[in-house]
């Protein structure tokens, strides 16, 4: 790497431990930065913790954030992984001062409120909570109560209980019951100061308090906020997932959703971005669970502006009545039912009764509280973002991600978080990773079992358990509190004293403890797999309703796991030494930007471009809505890329096919007749997309004076539109229809930019925008307002009744059905501007002789649209920019930075350590049938003609074991759970049952 940096030498402070903050912290930690994650609340997770499922796939999967490269990491869920080395969490901490140091470093001062519980000693037994007499409203579950000794949510991160000092009466009951003496009610606030090389602001948003929306009936019990409904529908929520009205607990049959509650009004003139989608999601969730419930949504625009969002909304449509109006008033009758007054589009007034009304509330910025400390400006309460970026601020070492910089949805927040890691890597440099030597596990083990049931009151018959295991040749010990330092040392002594080389720990649900234990045994020379962690305390001691079954469970479960370890033995594969090069396909803005950032950290890049010159679609773009000029930026970027010694730019070059695997890809390129071969550790696809070409006569395409939006923007900038008297813009041309069922994301914003430019140049020009929904989400709503103020007319049309364009008497005429007037109107226009959408450029790519798969729209398919937004199904392959779906230029750049951050994890590794969570093939048994190839979700299996057997590419394999269960000849097998181990476990579990009597 160019800059010599040591692991954890550079320090980044991440402000805010919500989804974006956690994603940034993990991405930075993966790149060798020391990270301090600061959270104001008692525990991490912010808003995402309160949402069981998120759009666009109605699932969660937050744990998929972590890339999986180290041995053993794939077994770690996020919760356990947040205890990683080099990642410090400070909860209850608030920033109060920032000092500038030399070399653009910053010193941040925090005030940490006392938790009154020493986190290192807390064993999460909940005894303090059980005895606490204080009850206060629960800010997590919203409609319920919590104690003063509490965790924000059950499996809390950091894994410790806290005491809410404000409400605690200092009665001292908790101190008496705490088994580890970890409670200190005299604890004082702590001053923390941290010196940072870079800062990531991920402070998120506050939910808009709808209290001021008196006309919408906020004071009525059956008017709830969308977050309250989220908790009501949650399995762990106040009603355990059952839909119940707050007033009487009855099941509502008629539910209304009011979108834009607190957004797009005088107090919050912007659009809160995520609400249309999450409101639709809640309607879907509710509809799925209660199919008989009648659902109505009152909305202003249906802003489903991303790749899969529009079709998501379309799928929601048939089951829901959508009314394009904001209700005027909500009243309550004597049965607590709600009367909603609204005006339909034809101007008629309606009064309708509902059982439950949900206000879909938006996001409020928090930056006014702290932006001045960084000498940053704010915009509507959010950190002001630099023009030409999505995350950059006026301070080049400070980034604002997610809702800190404007209302955001989850997928964009995560992309921005990872992009911040990429930007910081290229600013500060990153270290090479240390090697982990391969280890094999030898047969003939000596197995021990440690029980850590916490406390002596667990109801286990220790003598009986010890005798039972002794008969089986297994040594046992009871060690309390292995989560704490003392317990850990005792456990280590036990291993040494008994000369064990396998250990089952039956203890508390693994949190930080599992990682600590695995690190400890590795120091003893073990493979981490030699330690098996058995969740015992939570699911058994606390979950079983019959305490007389504890002993039996202790015997059965621990023995089954001990027997599993007894059968454990394997040879580790040789580590892969990755090529020190990245291949980027496509030299548009995203590709160029990624290449430059790779070069910044000293990674060699081959950047190929199929046309004669780099630049792609960005070459054709004019000034953006925010005033960003793409042309000089692009010119400068191309210049830098061409000058860089690290970047090999190959124009007129196409990608023929790819072979190999993560770390060792071989790309066959074609340059004219010549074939070129390049080795690369990772491949980034930034192949762009195309503008939709309307069919002849589609909205008058082909008629004189009908022009595409992008070309029209070019004309405006050249001053060729000054003599126009009237312009009609038609949106959604080639978007949101059967052929292209997605929103192209850029067109409405571009129409607004064009309209504003026209009006500013000549206020007399008539501008009409005919749109289905104006997609000016987030702060760009302010430009929509501006356009309206400037006198731009907006007419809404529906998909099944589109406007038509014709030429009559030498004039362009647009006729459109105006629902407000309930009549077809004709507009004559000097120019008709069509918002041509973005369509995928399909190009077949062969990887190991199989085509790389695309999504249903023809764009590259991310492996997880929310949490792994740039990663493709095959490990080591990434996509960014238009290749992945419609997006703005700055969003493409952000995505490129995010892909760089994820790719650098592999590029900085001297060796890719062998995995243990991996499948293999017994070549002698393999029938060469190919079933496992289709079963593998990650393309980690290939047919090896030389071996006449299927083969696993271990760098790609994620160790799920699906191949092993699919294989008809038991050739495919999984190291973590071989079938002999599973069979043995089943035997033990069923044989031991009589013993509990």
């Amino acid at each position: 790497m160019a800059k010599k940096v040591k692991e954890f030498e550079r320090h980044v402070v991440v402000l805010g431990g919500g989804a974006a903050g956690i994603a940034a912290a993990l991405a930075l930690n993966d790149l060798g930065f020391k990270v301090s994650l600061i959270e104001k609340q008692s525990h991490l997770l912010g808003t995402i913790g309160q949402l069981d499922k998120q759009f666009p796939n109605d699932a969660c999967g937050f744990c998929q954030l972590r890339s999986r490269v180290e041995p053993g990491v794939s077994e770690l869920c996020l919760r356990r992984d947040l205890g990683a080395e080099g990642l410090d969490i400070y909860n209850l901490s608030t920033l109060w001062n920032v000092e500038k140091l030399k070399g653009e470093r910053l010193k941040l001062y925090f005030n940490q409120e006392p938790a009154y519980i020493k986190p290192r000693l807390c064993v999460r037994c909940r005894k303090c909570e059980d005895v606490c007499p204080v009850e206060v409203p629960d800010e997590f579950n919203l409609l319920g109560k919590r104690k003063a000794a509490y965790t924000r949510y059950p499996m809390a991160i950091p894994p410790t209980w806290v005491i809410d000092g404000e409400n605690c009466t200092r009665c001292g009951e908790c101190v008496k019951v705490c088994p580890t003496d970890c409670i200190d009610l005299e604890m004082q606030p702590r001053e923390i100061s941290l010196e940072a090389d870079a800062v990531v602001i991920a402070t998120g948003f506050s939910l808009i308090d709808p209290a001021y929306l008196t006309e919408l009936g906020v004071r009525f019990p059956n008017v709830v906020t969308s977050l309250e409904l989220e908790r009501i529908l949650s399995d762990m929520g106040p009603t355990q997932g059952e839909l119940k009205r707050p007033s009487d607990g009855s099941e509502p049959k008629k539910v209304a959703f009011v979108f834009c509650a607190g957004s797009r009004d005088r107090l919050h003139p912007y659009c809160s971005t995520a609400c249309c989608m999450y409101g639709a999601k809640e309607a879907r969730m509710l509809g799925d669970k209660y199919p008989d419930t009648e659902l109505t949504i009152f909305y202003m625009d249906r802003r489903g502006y991303g790749k899969p969002y529009y079709s998501y909304m379309e799928e929601t449509l048939p089951d829901v009545r959508w009314i394009p109006c904001r209700p005027a008033k909500v009243e309550e009758d004597q049965d607590n039912n709600l009367i909603v007054h609204y005006e339909s589009e034809d101007g008629k007034f309606h009064k309708e009764e509902f059982d439950l009304v949900t206000l879909v509330v938006g996001q409020e910025g928090r930056a006014d509280d702290f932006a001045n400390l960084f000498e940053l400006e704010t915009n509507e309460g959010f950190v002001k973002i630099e023009v030409g970026s999505e995350i950059g601020t006026a301070n080049p070492k400070v980034f604002a991600i997610g809702s800190a910089g404007g209302p955001k949805d989850l997928p964009d927040s995560i992309t921005e978080a990872q992009a911040a890691a990429g930007r910081i890597a290229s600013l500060l440099g990153i270290p090479k990773t240390r090697n982990t030597p391969p280890k094999s596990v030898e047969p003939f083990p000596k197995v021990g079992v440690v029980f850590d049931p916490v406390g002596d009151d667990d109801g286990l018959d220790k003598d009986a358990i010890k005798t039972f295991f002794a008969e089986k040749g297994i040594t046992t010990a009871f060690i309390n509190y292995t989560e704490t330092g003392k317990g850990l040392s005792e456990l280590e002594n036990f291993i040494k004293e008994k000369e064990l080389d396998r250990l089952v720990v039956a203890g508390p649900a693994p949190n930080k403890a599992e990682r600590l234990l695995k690190e400890r045994v590795q120091e003893l020379g073990w493979h981490p797999a030699q330690l098996e962690y058995l969740d015992f305390r939570e699911p058994v001691l606390w979950g079983y309703e019959d305490a007389s079954k504890f002993n039996e469970a202790a015997l059965t479960l621990a023995l089954a796991h001990a027997e599993k370890l007894r059968l454990l033995s394997f040879d580790s594969a040789e580590p892969v030494q990755p090529f020190g090069r990245a291949l980027i396909v496509g030299a548009g803005a995203a590709g160029l930007w990624a290449a430059r950032q790779f070069a910044d950290v000293g990674v060699s890049v081959t950047l190929i471009e199929k046309t004669e010159q780099p630049g792609g679609q960005a070459r054709k773009l004019s000034r953006t809505l925010e005033g960003f000029e793409p042309a000089p930026f692009l010119e400068n970027l191309i210049k830098k890329v061409k000058k860089s010694k690290k970047i090999e730019l190959l124009t007129n070059t196409t990608l023929d096919r790819i072979e190999g695997e993560l770390g060792k890809f071989t790309a066959h390129l074609k340059r004219g007749e010549k074939e070129l071969i390049r080795g690369a550790a990772i491949i980034l696809f930034a192949t762009g997309a195309q503008e939709y070409e309307p069919k002849k006569d589609e909205f008058g395409w082909g008629l004189e004076g009908v022009i595409s939006e992008r070309d029209f923007a070019g004309r405006i900038s050249k001053g060729e539109t000054d003599d126009l008297k009237s312009v009609v813009m038609i949106q959604c041309v080639g978007s949101r229809n059967e052929e292209h069922p997605y929103c192209s994301r850029v067109c409405c914003r571009r129409a607004l930019a064009n309209a504003i430019a026209l009006k500013e140049a000549n206020p007399k020009v008539e501008v009409t925008i005919i749109a289905r929904d104006v997609m000016s989400w987030g702060l760009s709503e302010l430009y929509y307002l501006k356009a309206r103020e400037l006198g731009v007319n907006f007419i809404r049309y529906e998909k099944d009744n589109p406007p038509t364009v014709s030429r009559r008497d030498g004039k362009l005429v647009v006729s459109v059905f105006d629902r407000l007037l309930d009549a077809t109107v004709e507009l004559s226009a000097g120019s008709v501007v069509l918002a041509n959408g973005i369509v995928a450029s399909t190009l077949p790519i062969l990887y190991n002789d199989k085509p790389v798969s695309f999504d249903k729209f023809g764009f590259f398919a991310e492996v997880n649209p929310k949490f792994r937004p740039t990663e493709l199904e095959v490990d080591g392959m990434f996509a960014a920019g238009l290749a992945k779906g419609p997006k703005r230029l700055t969003e493409s750049l952000t995505e490129a930075s995010a892909a760089v951050a994820k790719a650098l994890v592999f590029l900085r590794a001297e060796k890719l350590a062998p995995k243990y969570y991996v499948a293999r093939t017994n070549t002698r048994r393999c029938a060469f049938c190919g079933i496992c190839i289709d079963a593998c979700p990650n393309s980690a299996r290939v047919m090896d003609d030389d071996l006449m057997s299927a083969r696993v590419i271990e760098a790609i394999c994620q160790g799920c074991g699906i191949c092993a269960s699919a294989c008809p000849s038991q050739a495919a097998h999984l190291l973590t759970l071989e079938s002999d181990q599973a069979f043995r476990m089943i035997d033990v579990m069923l044989a031991q049952t009589e013993r509990g009597d």
Binding site: P154, M155, Y544, P937, I962, M989
Partner: protein
């Protein structure tokens, strides 16, 4: 007096969701019958049909496979593969004269402690009604 029948259920729980849901239920003190003996697997899609058949032949009164909700799978579509396999397996069980209703596949996410407890309770009760697995060794002796 004859002892009440106490079913033995073998559980195959996905590491990412159902295994975590069991922890969540316990932490939240949401209690459930002690009849399931869990084996943690990486994915519900990795549960080999032979594991289920083996468990039934060894006398398990039921087999509960717990996986992630659709679209939530860590391995893209492992849960769908599990669903397909279990459907197939059930038809095979019928031909082997084993009761297919003793095998349950349920989606239980890591955030569903309540659902975990409900499923375990419901399954335990239904198996109790069915009575012991006729293949069970304990009933033969």
């Amino acid at each position: 007096m004859e002892k009440e029948f106490d079913p033995k259920i073998v559980g195959f729980f996905c590491n990412w969701c159902t295994a975590a849901a069991a922890d969540l239920a316990g932490t939240s003190r949401i209690q459930y019958p002690a009849n399931v003996r869990p084996i943690r697997v990486m994915c519900s899609g990795s549960v080999d049909a032979s594991y289920v058949i083996k468990a039934l032949l060894e006398g398990a009164d039921g087999v509960l496979i717990g996986g992630c909700h659709p679209n939530d799978c860590h391995y893209v579509n492992g849960n769908y593969k599990a669903r397909r396999r279990v459907a197939l397996l059930k038809s095979i069980l019928t031909t082997l004269d084993l009761d297919p209703d003793r095998v349950w596949l349920r989606w239980i996410s890591a955030a569903e402690g309540v659902r975990f407890a409900k499923v375990v309770r419901q399954m335990t009760e239904e198996i109790k009604e069915k009575g012991p697995n006729p293949m069970g060794k304990s009933t033969q002796t």
